[in-house]
């Protein structure tokens, strides 16, 4: 019987076994030293063969197409992945474009342009509109400040969840001539209860400084903009988002959910 299992080695190596057979072979592998050695030998004999092949030139434009494919087929799309159609710019410029557009959300033209851009992906479109709405709402509250300058992103960073919770977000530092502004947008966040808020923290040497709080809509989307006036000289290391039991906390009570280095 054992012998029979050893016969699967070639097909296992070539990925031809069904999931079930593959798992059974792996179980067998743990007990069969011969197979372990043999598999190791096959790996060793084949692993550097490609290094002896003449390298051929990939077709033109493949890089953009491949990376584009990865971004547009990402199962967890985020609004950073917008790319202008037929753009000669590398796909990564989409990140900047999205951030830039979001950061001038006050400008009414943005809405039109945003929708044009995001029409490439309806899912994204919906999420973006939500995020944008949340930001516009926030900015309406500060309308008396009359921003006329065009903001440009000085720094952008993806907010990364500290555990597998599906939360995503983005932090952008922009400046429209009136001092740096931190813009945080998130999506896929879990619902808040009671007085709970999401709180943004700028962190320097492990000391968090409260930098705006926000609530989310029914789709888990939200965001906040925060004027960093007078504090920009400080060397912020990272930005983080936590869930706090109430607004106005000077120190985080809840645990950090999203974080990114700046």
């Amino acid at each position: 019987m054992e012998n029979k299992r050893c016969d699967y080695l070639i097909d296992y190596f070539n990925g031809l076994l069904s999931e079930n057979d593959s798992r059974q072979f792996e179980q067998h592998l743990q007990q069969c030293e011969d197979c372990q050695k043999e598999l190791q030998e096959f790996k060793a004999l084949t692993e550097d063969l490609p290094l002896h092949m003449k390298q051929v030139d990939p077709p033109e434009g493949m890089k953009d197409r491949v990376l584009d494919h990865v971004m547009t087929n990402d199962p967890v799309p985020s609004n950073q992945f917008i790319k202008k159609k037929n753009s000669k710019l590398p796909i990564w410029s989409g990140v900047l474009a999205a951030a830039l557009l979001l950061s001038v959300g006050v400008n009414i033209y943005t809405t039109v342009e945003m929708q044009q851009l995001s029409s490439e992906n309806e899912n994204l479109n919906a999420q973006l509109s939500d995020a944008q709405l949340a930001i516009s709402e926030l900015q309406e509250e500060q309308e008396d400040e009359e921003d006329t300058g065009v903001a440009s992103p000085e720094q952008t960073a993806s907010l990364v969840p500290l555990e597998e919770n599906g939360f995503t977000g983005m932090a952008t530092v922009t400046d429209n001539g009136e001092g740096p502004e931190l813009l945080v947008q998130v999506q896929n966040m879990e619902a808040l209860h009671g007085d709970e808020v999401y709180q943004v923290w700028l962190i320097e040497e492990e000391t968090p400084v409260a930098s705006g709080s926000f609530v989310i809509d029914e789709h888990g989307v939200g965001g906040v903009s925060y004027h960093m006036s007078g504090e920009m000289e400080q060397n912020w290391e990272s930005v983080a988002v936590s869930k706090e039991p109430q607004p106005g906390n000077e120190q985080p009570e809840g645990e950090i959910l999203l974080e990114s280095e700046l």
């Binding site: 070639i10 003449k54 051929v56 990939p58 493949m62 087929n73 950073q80 796909i91 990564w92």
Partner: protein
């Protein structure tokens, strides 16, 4: 600071760092594409392989999950690329087989001469393969470049199933020896 290692890049990719994915892409584009092209012999299929491989890297699950138990990162990535290539080849062939299932195995038998002619540019591997007896070349071709099953290799080469594994191993060992000799000769020049 210096250049980030493969492992560092991989970890950053798992954090959905696009810049890291691009760096990784630049680092491996030509090598991986060349391998995919060698196996699929088609630029479109090869590009499809590249998309698949980088998708796997980005998602970091299943076949795209790397850890140090899997050996050197570059070797692992080449293995993923090879597996993706032979997988794609197999899928494309399955479609063809629907048309003519009976003759499919016949088509698998490579003509060694043709294989060599097809290589416009010869390389170390071709040279090393060339000095092997036909049967050994065929074993390597069917096993490594086509990813055929043990059963199919046995049919194509008219060998008892039980001897296939040993023959492949022997052919691979011989190939490695040839490669090593070539290297020495080249350096001697």
């Amino acid at each position: 600071m210096g250049k980030p290692t493969d492992k560092e890049l991989y970890e950053r990719i798992q954090m959905k760092d696009k810049a890291a994915l691009e760096l990784m892409y630049d680092r491996y584009e030509k090598l991986l594409y060349s391998l995919a092209y060698r196996i699929t012999k088609d630029p479109h299929f090869s590009e499809e392989v590249m998309q698949d491989v980088f998708m796997k890297l980005w998602n970091g699950k299943g076949a795209g999950q790397y850890n140090e138990d899997k050996g050197k990162f570059s070797s692992w990535l080449l293995t993923v690329t090879r597996n993706t290539s032979i997988d794609l080849l197999r899928k494309k062939k399955e479609v063809e087989y629907q048309w003519d299932e009976r003759d499919s195995l016949q088509e698998e038998i490579p003509s060694v001469e043709k294989e060599v002619e097809d290589q416009e540019k010869r390389d170390e591997l071709t040279e090393a393969m060339d000095t092997l007896p036909d049967e050994q070349q065929r074993m390597i071709y069917l096993f490594y470049f086509q990813g055929l099953s043990q059963q199919n290799i046995s049919k194509v080469c008219e060998l008892p199933v039980g001897t296939v594994k040993g023959r492949i191993r022997l052919a691979l060992k011989k190939l490695r020896e040839n490669l090593a000799t070539e290297r020495r000769v080249d350096h001697g020049k």
